[in-house]
């Protein structure tokens, strides 16, 4: 088997229960290098939970995660921290460290997780902030930044760790409409540079232009997967069609 055949990441038969409620049920996703897979589905479908199971921010009850073909044993702390460094995560509400400047937000994990020395970490952080167009704002604190700028800082923070894959959980949902574009532009850039990504989003039209595959999820189950065109216009499943119709109504086709 050649290395290209091994997916960057596979999540196999992930199940997560909260009490009696099964929030994710035997969901499997596998992503090849450079792929962008987009998870769509109604609110409460389990998209966030599934994404967080991938880097064990939420511990799945069943299933396993393989990074470049190697199974992760989450009980081994070293494995776990390694996995999380290799998997960048972008949250809906940014989760920037409120007490640190943009620059320090990007730099802190380089210094304290990767152990990179101060000057190198600083330079790297500056480069990542430049890449998301925030060089002028690097000394500002999160509370001094707009939502779009915060999300771009969080992308820079994740990128600085040299992740093998990025998980983006509704990266634009918390943004005012006029700020969405700047974040989508950054994501488009990542895509163009070959970053491997899984993203959950309601930005269907934007996603359909870039995604390799759509994954439709509902009630914890992956109902259907396929190319964006197929899911949006010729979905096999009735529920998928209904959802896509509704989403077009709400969000329109422009982004």
């Amino acid at each position: 088997m050649s290395t290209e055949m091994i997916p960057v990441l596979s999540a196999e038969r992930i199940t997560k229960r909260y009490g009696k409620k099964t929030v994710v049920r035997t969901a499997s996703i596998s992503v090849n290098k450079g792929d962008l897979k987009v998870i769509i589905g109604p609110s409460g479908a389990g998209k966030s939970t599934l994404l967080q199971c991938i880097n064990y921010l939420v511990t799945p009850d069943e299933g396993r995660i393989l990074l470049e073909g190697r199974e992760i044993d989450p009980s081994r702390k070293k494995d776990l921290y390694r996995l999380r460094q290799d998997v960048g995560m972008i949250f809906q509400d940014f989760n920037l460290f409120d007490h640190l400047t943009a620059h320090d937000n990007v730099r802190i994990a380089l210094r304290r997780v990767k152990g990179i020395d101060k000057t190198d970490a600083s330079e790297r952080a500056v480069r990542e902030l430049e890449r998301v167009g925030l060089l002028d704002h690097m000394h500002k604190y999160p509370a001094q930044l707009s939502g779009g700028q915060k999300q771009r800082v969080s992308i820079a923070r994740a990128l600085a760790m040299d992740p093998k894959i990025m998980l983006l959980d509704e990266p634009t949902s918390a943004l005012d409409p006029e700020l969405i574009t700047e974040v989508l532009a950054v994501i488009g850039d990542l895509r163009a540079n070959g970053m491997t990504m899984i993203m959950s989003t309601h930005q269907i039209s934007f996603a359909s232009e870039m995604a390799d595959e759509f994954i439709f999820m509902e009630a914890g189950i992956i109902v259907e997967t396929g190319s964006p065109a197929k899911i949006l216009s010729q979905a096999e499943c009735e529920r998928t069609r209904e959802f896509c119709a509704k989403i077009n109504e709400i969000y329109g086709t422009s982004y």
Binding site: N55, L57, K77, Y81, R82, R84, Q85, V87, G88, M89, F91, D93, F94, N95, L96, F97, D98, H99, I108, A109, R112, V113, K140, Y141, P142, A143, Q144, S154, R157, A158, M161
Partner: protein
């Protein structure tokens, strides 16, 4: 009146030396309470269930038993039984510190749980261990939030420190009392002691207010 003033003037250096003792007790107790209180708070928020219970028990005990009882219990009881010969001053610092740790832990716990979940999540997502995340991300924010309540705790410990005389720590109040017993100028002396306490309260809370301003996160509303 004149007589009172001359007596007061004569006694002032002696009283002020007492305030050095008071400051020592309070500084020691607050420091011990800070360090131990942080540890307790972290344990209570992030620890295993048995640890949470144990800390709950600790807090319950030290908040529930009167200060004087604890002072005697430690001074005449525990340390004597263990044959550890500590000075009254040290025991006062330790006991006031352990009590303050119980109160401070609740201040810090409140501050920690008031932080959004996302902070710890984001730190973990970057590959930080929980310990690193707590030290680098959680505590710096929680401690900032805790300053106003901490300042309140300072004035409480300051006032409580007067009870240390029960062990023979000659702080401000004890000294005022000694001089009054000799001179029968109780009122002016207690008044002066009160003023010294007020000044110490003011200076401490003022310093903490300045600290709060200094470490305030730009753009963050109060």
């Amino acid at each position: 009146m004149i007589e009172s003033l001359t007596i007061l003037a004569g006694a002032l250096p002696y009283l002020l030396k007492g305030s050095v003792v008071t400051i020592g007790v309070v500084f020691g107790a607050m420091s011990l309470g800070l360090l131990f209180g942080i540890a307790l708070a972290v344990g209570q928020v992030y620890g295993a269930i048995w640890l949470k219970r144990l800390i709950g028990l600790y807090v319950w005990f030290f908040r529930g038993v009167p200060l004087l009882v604890l002072l005697f219990l430690f001074y005449f009881g525990l340390f004597s039984l263990l044959n550890i010969n500590l000075t009254a001053f040290t025991v006062a610092v330790i006991v006031l510190g352990l009590i303050s740790a119980a109160y401070q832990s609740q201040i810090f716990r409140g501050a920690i749980v008031s932080l959004p979940d996302g902070q710890l999540k984001a730190a973990r997502a970057l590959g930080m261990s929980d310990a690193t995340a707590i030290v680098l991300i959680i505590l710096p924010q929680a401690l900032r939030l805790a300053i106003p309540a901490w300042s309140n705790e300072y004035s409480i410990v300051l006032k409580d420190s007067a009870v240390a005389y029960a062990l023979g720590v000659t702080e401000i109040m004890a000294r005022a009392h000694f001089v009054a017993s000799r001179t029968y100028q109780h009122l002016p002396l207690y008044f002066t002691a009160g003023v010294i306490f007020l000044i110490l309260t003011y200076a401490g809370t003022k310093a903490l207010r300045l600290l709060e301003e200094r470490v305030h996160i730009p753009g963050y509303s109060q």
